[in-house]
Symmetry: C2
Subunit: 231 residues, 2 copies
């Protein structure tokens, strides 16, 4: 296997800890609810909402717009009233302020010395740029489903990343903490690296992080990824 020329990263859960960050902001904004359960419910609405876009039931909407749609629904289901429209919109921006995992910044700094580092997220460009500035993520380039007009796991997104850099799919390495994302990337010919993020869904929900033997690399965290990639 030749070394990759471009590394593309899933972001939510892989680079940043959405559960912990969202739960913290929810706990502050709405002290009356179970913040962890609220964070999980918000995130669970994400995939069905994207599928409504990809099926054509909804027009193209950014993740910011989908997050807001889901938030209104989750607020109703949790019986939360009394937030102003401004407060709801501000809470929705919590996704722009997600915190990196402990190893993220050091791992990225090392990998950046040797490789082109890009996001490849369903998050919209503005969200990803705000998050990078807030968290100090040293991207070389922000790539988003918004650029390709399709959400992962649509092949256009993975092929699109290779096309942007005029490289073959096998010269791109997709890094993610989600096997379905990596399976779709593999089907397009990309190299893949699975990163264990056992606490992605919080301390109370177990995540299966075992090696399924299908990826180019299976690593504990970004430091280990830098090591196996000689960065």
């Amino acid at each position: 296997m030749k070394p990759p020329r471009v590394l593309v990263f899933d972001v939510f859960g892989t680079v940043v800890d959405w559960y912990g960050s969202i739960a913290r902001e929810v706990a502050t904004a709405i002290p009356s609810v179970d913040a962890g359960a609220f964070a999980l419910a918000w995130r669970e609405g994400y995939r069905p909402a994207m599928q409504r876009v990809m099926s054509g039931e909804l027009p193209w909407m950014t993740i910011d717009e989908l997050h807001l749609l889901i938030l209104r629904d989750v607020l109703a289901r949790f019986g939360v009233g009394g937030l102003t429209e401004d407060e709801i919109v501000e809470l929705n921006r919590a996704w722009h302020r997600l915190a990196p995992w402990d190893d993220t910044l050091e791992g990225m700094r090392r990998l950046k010395q040797r490789y082109m580092l890009c996001s490849l997220s369903n998050g919209n460009i503005g969200l990803l740029a705000d998050m990078a500035k807030h968290a100090g993520l040293p991207w070389d380039c922000i790539l988003s489903a918004e650029i390709f007009g399709k959400y992962k796991p649509h092949p256009d997104v993975y092929y699109g990343a290779a096309r942007v850099f005029a490289v073959a799919p096998e010269e791109v390495l997709m890094v993610a903490a989600h096997q379905d994302d990596l399976a779709a990337a593999r089907a397009c010919g990309l190299q893949t690296a699975y990163v264990e993020r056992p606490l992605e869904f919080g301390p109370e929900r177990e995540k299966d992080v075992r090696d399924n033997g299908l990826n180019t690399w299976h690593v504990r965290d970004f430091i280990r990824l830098a090591e196996v990639l000689d960065a």
Copy 2:
């Protein structure tokens, strides 16, 4: 005038010195030609080539593809034979290696402390990402005509930058060394800053860098831009 929230930059000539960089690479690759004249001829082919795309005569092509098209034509006009296909493709990548002006990096570092810094160039994403990595340009986000499917000065590009960040056009400041780019940005409601780059076309071709009184700011360089924007 409210302070802007996002700064978007023209790149070729504004952030980097295409004339000097291209002339240096041409002088090395093809010692027999007048490298400055060759650089000017290559750049002069750029606008007509983009217009052929925008008129529909050519399908969407990236700037890398257009640069290659023009390069073949310029090589023929300068009577240069004997380059291999690999050498031609490598010379075309000189546009990925353009050097910043002396004030660029310090100015950007200061501006980045306070503002979101994005490219807004007709250059394709891969070219701009390679250039940023090579030159150390600290973009928060790379925006390109490639994302919007139109070349500047089409309004979709300027409005697109505002839409990406969900801000009003007047909250975006376009920075450029070209009055036509700024006029188009102004027509979309953006704030504008003209940056003098008197040597854009080399030491032998004069450039009119006088203040036309139409822009929000008129500055000598990026250091002065940081000063007037309190960064």
